[in-house]
Subunit: 146 residues, 10 copies
């Protein structure tokens, strides 16, 4: 069972049980985006988390086990072709240098961690069209000198 | 004067005047990230905005004019090598599909606009290490059927 | 059943039933290009649209269900090798900057949406050789300043 | 004087004279998109057209001469990073195969010419947001058998 | 049955029947290169041509049907690694610009069509080593102005 | 003086003298395509050929000398964007494998040389549109076994 | 049976029979490197050679037949990742231009053929560490002028 | 003075003095290929070697100094386009795996060093066409286990 | 059984037996990183080592045999997307030239061998967060002159 | 003055003053590799550090200022061609997955930081050939769950 098949089975189980990512998140006290990351093999559950999700979704034992493995992460293609994902690539292309300048001005030389990091997605109701609000929160890591 | 030289001259003027991006933003009532985008040729000022910034930074006329042109946007290299910018690429690689799933679940088929879009950067003080908070706010655009 | 197999089965059913894309479009009041997009997993049908198409094409239940999923869009290869598709890539290469200039001159800074967007293909009879007329119609999205 | 410099000088002259692409097009009875293509070295003017445009824009002789050369066409980067131009790349990625299917169904095996081809851009006023209408008109070229 | 398998089966049948491409071409009055293109899914036969070839090669019905489909053309890899095919890539690299100059000088601005196009291969006997003669014959398509 | 500048100067001299490639070819008894190859630094003249061409074109000594150097050949970009040159790339993509099969069938295992090779371009007058005829003639080189 | 499977089966047979490439070479009077090339589908045996090798290795008929086909050659990845093979890529990167200069100085404008070509590998015993000696021997092909 | 300019000046001096690489090699008791490597910034001379070559070629002091620097090696483009250099790339593509197999069979797991390595080029006179003989001699480095 | 399947089976056996890489290393007196390299097909065991590991992990005979083969090494993708592995790519991007300068200053012209090479990973306990210590130890190989 | 020119001037000053990286490191109490990183624009000095280095190297004011800027980091080319730097790429290719496995086994899910990170290079004298010892020391960053 390869990584794509694991993902597919998880989505099938989720659909069958009629759960949202948010429903699943509540079961183990995690955010919906983190749950979706787990589905795509981009995060790793503890044995207990895997057991609780497995129970809620009716997963077989070996599928549960896969949730606790260390995944090889990343999408693969250098430039994504899916329009929704591409927009995040475009934001990095267009606003990458500006963000770098503002972060350096505010924090000094270093980076925003993508590991000690959380990401949430909210829906902002707006009569002119609802808005997607993505909030990234990462620890600032100053470059060490030695 | 190519795009890189325009950027360099703007940074030189900013340094000489001792202004932060935030200071400049207040002059024309814009966010600091937007100002930095303008410096990198990723945004376009109105004639009035350009005049006010030009006055605050002591810019020459033709440099002011460049701020009002339609820029060719984007960084260029497919995969960025600068560690700070790369982290945003990594976020897209690792969390792209999870974000796609959650956005589709909450909003339906469509994308988050990167045009009708704002991006702000805040500093969250934390004794274990300050945190960078990036907030992206984009209009949801549903796919049109025809 | 992967995405390519879904496409193949849809084409087989269409051939067997002797329908054109236009015939199928009339059943659910959609354009022929949109129907072809659905066949290639680039669009998403509502449950009702899927049911009606499924009935007209004699599709099995799980194939119908696939029409209602959120697809990962895009062809994949960076530069297409098929001559017909390449011509659209060539048009973007040759006329991309000119179109950008004219759109900016007429509309200001922003883009033509590829989401709030329709695309139709017409046949123009011409004694010197029939002509393909592709009409793209996308909402202009002005860049937000913040 | 390289190709980029020729383009820059033409834009400077156009700005100084306060002409739109449409104004220039009327002088030599050509479409505004074609004029913009000429500015970007993607098209070639006759000696007479170059002379008339040169006179309207106050161009020097050698700049006029450049308008009559055979250009090496194309933007260069495999995947464009400018958001406006990228949308046309995305359209090719998302709608390429659907267009291929519909064109084959309507015309048989062959392609839409990108040479015996015209492209116009219109503005459609719409209270919900103006729309960009791009019309491509290319001769259908059937594959020759031999 | 994917495209590679179709090709393989056609070659097997050809070998079993002991036919050359030239033999097969005579059956439907086509050139040997065109027949080979058909084997590789780069061309499309009419129903009658497919039937005649199918009969000569003893092909099953569904294999015959595949010969009449609209293929997705092109080899795939950006730079071919097979030495024989690479030589044509090298010719394009080395003689591309010279050919462009001579064609423009003789015909004006435009291209040689690769669609309204034939290609034949002849063997020129030479005591110092036989020679391959490739003749390409494509319609000149002048760039349309509009 | 880099390679591009050498080419530009040669074209300027040719224009000034009002010569075609064919005219220049007659001076040293070479084909027009070979002359164009020399202009683009893809071929190498003998000292005498360089002197004769230099005299006809009014070239300075060091420009003449450059014609006798061993050039680093090739255009550079992996996939050409100029439509005329791209068509030769497309021919390699679409007809590469068919040509390989026919050449192997007629000659055995080996390649067509791109070194012991000539290439000519002829104009075939045709009331339905003139045709470009490209004739490539390369020695067949059988693979050596050892 | 794809190309990789043919290779795997040949290696299995070789291992089972306990033969070296050199042993196999002696059977048909060919060099060990050529035999290894045949195993990897980079060379083509005559019917008789295939029969003799098949007999020595106990190969089935259809495996023998595969040795006589015209292979599509080349490894595939643009830059090899295997350290042993990469060293040959590195040699080309580091010593390519120097070799070009020396060959041009000694032979004139042309290339070393990779077709009329042999390659042998010898082991040179050396107390400081044995040495690999690779000898390439290719016909010089002068560029033809025409 | 960048690396390309250093190379150009060295070639100019060599031409002016009428020396071959072999002549220069004799001056400092090095092979002609090594001298050419030095010209291309792929090797590094000792101070004494640089002085002797500088004297023979009439080089200025700072040009001599450049010969003693640690160069950043490698040609750059992933796939070379120059036909002569490409042949070495092709040899790696076609014969890479066969060489790997033979070297492993003869030496065990490890590589041929490209550092403790020499490369010579000889001319083998042959009435059917002279031959280029390239001899690579590299230390075998066994993989260390730990 | 392809390389990925061999790796998967080895990990399954390791998990079932509850062994760490370090445990396995002790059985054959090798470092844990070397053992992991063997699992990923990047190293090669002797027959005796394979037998001992096979016995400890309960491997079948043909799986044991695979451990003694000469592997084709390397991960494949040019730029890794997994964040942990990417950091090593980033280190090479950011510190590659500085390391080169320091190594040249200390050792002269040459490289650090990646073949006569060991790599160990230690855990350094630190109250502010444990640290990963990677120690690479490779023989310096001076460039040979000839 | 672009980044490459800054680097070149720093190296010239270092050579003129006859300092090693280690000498310079002692002046501001930093490691030699960090100093080399600063020379290549991969690190950033404080104003005081820049002043002291500037004094020791006799740098002009604006060169000193460049040492305190936030650099855009990274080498650029996806795959390095310099043999010394390539070895680190090769180590990542060959040992990347094994390192990932061992780090996960010892530390859990997370990465080794390349920011809170030091790198030193030592020379280990060895009669069989000196050895380069590279020690990387990076904080382990566990993936945050949310």
């Amino acid at each position: 069972m390869n990584a794509g098949e694991v993902t597919q089975k998880l989505f099938d189980a989720k659909k069958k049980k009629g759960k949202t990512f948010s429903d699943l998140g509540k079961i183990i006290d995690r955010d919906e985006v983190w749950i979706a990351s787990l589905f795509y093999g981009q995060a790793r559950a503890s044995e207990e988390e895997a057991a609780r999700l497995g129970s809620a979704l009716g997963l077989e034992k070996d599928l549960c086990d896969r949730l606790t493995e260390f995944p090889t992460k990343g999408l693969g293609p250098l430039v994504p072709t899916d329009p929704l994902i591409y927009r995040f690539y475009e934001i990095m292309q267009v606003y990458g240098m500006p963000m770098k300048s503002v972060i350096h001005e505010k924090f000094g030389d270093g980076i925003m961690s993508a590991i000690d990091f959380t990401l949430t997605i909210d829906k902002e109701i707006d009569p002119k069209g609802d808005r997607v609000v993505v909030t990234m929160n990462g620890k600032f890591l100053p470059y060490k000198k030695w």
